[in-house]
């Protein structure tokens, strides 16, 4: 997309936002539809999902592997979350190693899940200091029509819930072709919601045009009890404490809404 187009869209979005409107007619706190989660889409992964929010589509897959635990946590397995913004998903992304937006997406999603202890990593340990399960989640964008943050968070949570341990044979080798019925030890459903400020108004689930016009965003990860496990402010703008608290209220409310979509 060329810069002239981006500027045109930005001005239109800003003019509408000042009146509290959005160009697709949604309310500021309304998500696009449909919101769909399709599980077990990849037979090669231990767990996988395709998540759709409107036209935004991401795929998340989980691979498990048996590794030596880290020296500082000998009785725990581990969790790693990575994100790839593929050139397939938007003309804005180029081939090559992950750039800053992909790194931020992965790290913000990772922190929300990790800090709220969604997975009890102690239960992933098989032999202390020798062998433990490591959970590797990859988020891949398929169509970026805005709000990859919420889609990625939802996809990771759904993919973890879809995951089944592979079979381990008598010699201790993992047989990835066969899976047991055993699921990951998941303690809670933590979702991250990103609130965007466009033209002075807070809104959820932006399109790409709204993301371009936003000056500040705040990502809030929370569980069903309303405990916040991670936050990150992005964008060039500043926020007041009141604005932060308003964004937190909205994010907690929308996290409950999206949690309803997870079975």
């Amino acid at each position: 997309m060329n810069t002239a187009m981006i500027t045109f869209n930005k001005n239109t979005v800003l003019a509408l936002a000042k009146e509290g409107k959005r160009f697709d007619g949604r309310k500021l706190d309304e998500y696009r539809g449909p919101i769909e989660i399709e599980s077990s889409i990849s037979k090669s992964a231990e767990g996988s999902v395709k998540v759709r929010i409107g036209d935004t589509v991401v795929i998340a897959g989980v691979k498990l592997s048996l590794e030596k635990p880290y020296p500082d946590t000998p009785n725990q397995g581990g969790l790693m979350i990575n994100a790839e913004l593929t050139p397939l998903s938007s003309s804005r992304y180029e081939p090559g190693p992950p750039q800053m937006p992909a790194i931020e997406l992965a790290r913000v999603t990772d922190r929300g899940i990790r800090e709220s202890h969604v997975i009890d990593t102690k239960k992933l340990c098989i032999t202390k200091g020798e062998k433990a399960w490591f959970v590797m989640v990859d988020i891949v964008s398929v169509n970026d029509a805005g709000n990859l943050f919420d889609a990625a968070g939802l996809a990771v949570m759904a993919a973890l819930k879809d995951t089944k341990f592979p079979v381990v044979d008598e010699e201790g080798n993992v047989n990835y072709k066969e899976h047991t019925d055993e699921s990951l030890p998941i303690a809670k459903d933590t979702l991250s919601i990103t609130i965007f400020r466009v033209g002075g108004n807070l809104l959820v689930d932006p399109t790409v045009e709204e993301e371009d016009a936003c000056d500040t965003r705040l990502t809030v990860s929370s569980d069903a009890t309303g405990v916040i496990s991670a936050m990150q402010k992005g964008g060039e703008g500043t926020m007041t404490i009141d604005e932060v608290m308003k964004a937190v209220d909205l994010a907690l409310d929308k996290a409950n809404f999206l949690r309803g979509k997870l079975q």
């Binding site: 800090e115 405990v227 404490i241």
Partner: protein, 235 residues
Amino acid sequence: MAYTERLDGRKANGLREMSGKVGVIPNADGSAEFRTGKTWAIAAVYGPREVLPRFMANPKKGFIRCQYTMMPFSGTGERIRPGRSRRAQEIAMVMDKALEPVVDLTAFPNSVVDIFVELPQTDAGTRCAAITAAAMALADAGIPMRDMVCSVSVGTVDGTVVADLTYNEEAFDGHVSDIPVAMTARNKEITLLQMDGHVKKEELKIALEMARDVMSKIFDVQKKALVAKFAEVPQ
């Protein structure tokens, strides 16, 4: 058991002993160091200068570009492998965002102001110390700024809201949250906000208000350091 007495005896809103100095790197256009407890950040500013690689240049205005590096021996655990980790890249990006709102580079199109921060010794709160030092270095370099930026982390340890957490507090056995905050010195607008751990909405509000209230103490250190240097300049 609630966390009523802090591990190092500070009050809940007490900051560690701080010191600041500007002009510590003669080669740089501006430089500063900031220490809070055992955390020590050194910042150098080079620029405005030509942007390399050139395709990043913005013909409308100049921009700032931070780099954050923990020295390999500066951590509390094992040696940190040199080279830019994903963590360091992300911190550099949030530092850009924390400083950008106050920096005015419209007079310097096609140029960049590079800010390099190195930490020789750390005990938590590194990104906050880095931002505080970087803001001082920018001022020392004479970069046009609308305001200063001050930064400190607040958080909760076992339900108690505290300011300027140490590593031992972050590692406390119980619910802990770490909330790095940066604010503009005069209007107290938030330019950096991150959080990880376990916090309730009510605690978050108290923590942000505590950050706002202690920010002036950091600003005092910055101001004192800048005045100390420029008072020396012969008239």
